[in-house]
Amino acid sequence: MSKVIELTKQDFDKEVLKSDIPVLVDFWAPWCQPCIMMSPILDVLSEELSGKLKICRVNTELPENRILAYQYQIQSIPNMKLFKNGIIIKEFIGLRPKEIFKEELEQVLNSS
């Protein structure tokens, strides 16, 4: 069982940059409809890809998280970045259906 982790600036280093396994970080905000639509998909993927991929969320509405949005040059949400060994290896912008997204993720995970 792996749940999506709600991240703040404080645990970004530990959970994302220093993670042993690849991490997908979803930058989102509650006023963004596609983000809300993406949320249950990420919950399911987090279970299905458990062990292979960790999924985290950053709520960009929170003032303490703005710096992360700035740092990672977020200009449009949902914006999901895939990190491996602290480096961004792929970026996904906009809503995508679960099955398609799972395939996209598995493709990157298997080839990197």
Binding site: C32, Q33, I36, V44, Q75
Partner: protein, 321 residues
């Protein structure tokens, strides 16, 4: 909500509503009040209305966000027992079942449902600029949703393209956050509600550039400049950090084409006064239709949804009694 989390789904419903915006959700509320069992399938729960930053013309509230109004509609529909699932319908096929017709509805996540009647409340999708590089810059300077992305442009310079209500409200919202807003419009006067236009013309941060089109997008990693067909202050290129595209919407096409529904020349579904399409068993409501004098608003979408639900109820009653 995702299908995975929805319990008690059936394979077959007397009515399936495709679309979960104001039209589809209102139809669901009415259907539930008529005890008409139904399923709502929507790709984006809340529809386009969710993206409205501020709604000031819906009775009951002086001012309400699109997010809140659609949340209320959804909660209302669910509280009456509606099943609402988030999925995209990719096919509607008509089948014969003995003497009767039945519709087979297939979704993107490979779910199949059967329905005796179908209500299409599909709404519209945002019109794109259709300029080279547009796709490359999505999320890197180009946005189609000011409500979603405005806050990433704090103290930046942005442009809004368009001149009707959604462009006008986007400019006003962006002006609360950005340093400078250029609103670029192809005509010589803004359209839409006079109240918004007056606010724009009095806003120091907004500069409306009339009679001008965007003909190019430039930038390396992200959008840096837009190219104008008419020079602004002697310059054909305008340096900006973000471009918000608000040039209206076009009707959803795919399902309409598959079903050979009659449309007007712009692709909106032709319906009768009780929201029937030319095809028996299929109704349409909301922004997707030619009704309501082509006035595409939340209240008119709700109204068409209500009319459709009542008409479907009568139809089903007639055919089952």
């Amino acid at each position: 909500m995702n299908t995975e989390f929805t319990e008690n789904l059936k394979d077959r419903y007397p009515l399936i509503i495709i679309g979960a915006g104001p039209a589809g959700l209102t139809a669901s509320i009415y259907a539930s009040r008529y005890k008409l069992e139904h399923l709502v399938i929507g790709e984006a729960i809340g529809g386009l209305a969710f993206e409205a930053h501020k709604i000031c013309n819906f009775p009951i509230e002086n001012e309400i966000s699109g997010r809140d109004i659609t949340k209320k509609m959804q909660e209302h529909a669910r509280s009456l027992g509606a099943n609402i699932i988030m999925d995209k319908v990719i096919g509607v096929q008509e089948k014969n079942e003995g003497e009767n017709k039945i519709f087979k509805i297939t979704t993107q996540s490979n779910k199949v449902f059967l329905a005796n009647t179908v209500l299409l409340a599909l709404g519209t999708e945002r019109r794109r600029l259709d300029l080279p590089g547009e796709n490359r810059f999505i999320g890197k300077g180009i946005s189609y949703c000011a409500t979603c992305d405005a806050m990433f442009y704090q103290n930046k310079t942005v442009a809004v393209v368009g001149g009707s209500n959604s462009a006008n409200t986007s400019s006003l919202y962006l002006a609360e956050i950005a340093k400078k807003v250029y609103q670029i419009y192809r005509r010589d006067k803004l359209r839409g509600e006079t109240s918004w236009i007056e606010q724009i013309l009095h806003n120091q941060k907004i500069k409306v550039i009339y009679n001008t089109n965007i003909i190019g997008l430039k930038g390396e990693e992200k959008l840096e400049k837009i190219v104008l067909d008419t020079p602004y202050q002697g310059m054909k290129e305008l340096a900006i950090d973000g471009l918000f595209v608000e040039i209206g919407s076009v009707p959803q096409k795919a399902l309409i084409k598959d079903l050979s529904l009659q449309t007007d020349e712009n692709g909106y579904i032709k319906v009768t006064s009780d929201q029937r399409t030319n095809r028996l068993g299929i109704w349409a409501a909301g922004d997707i239709t030619t009704n309501s004098n082509n006035f595409r608003q939340i209240i008119t979408a709700c109204s068409e949804g209500a009319i459709a639900a009542e008409s479907i109820f009568k139809f089903i009653k007639q055919h089952t009694s």
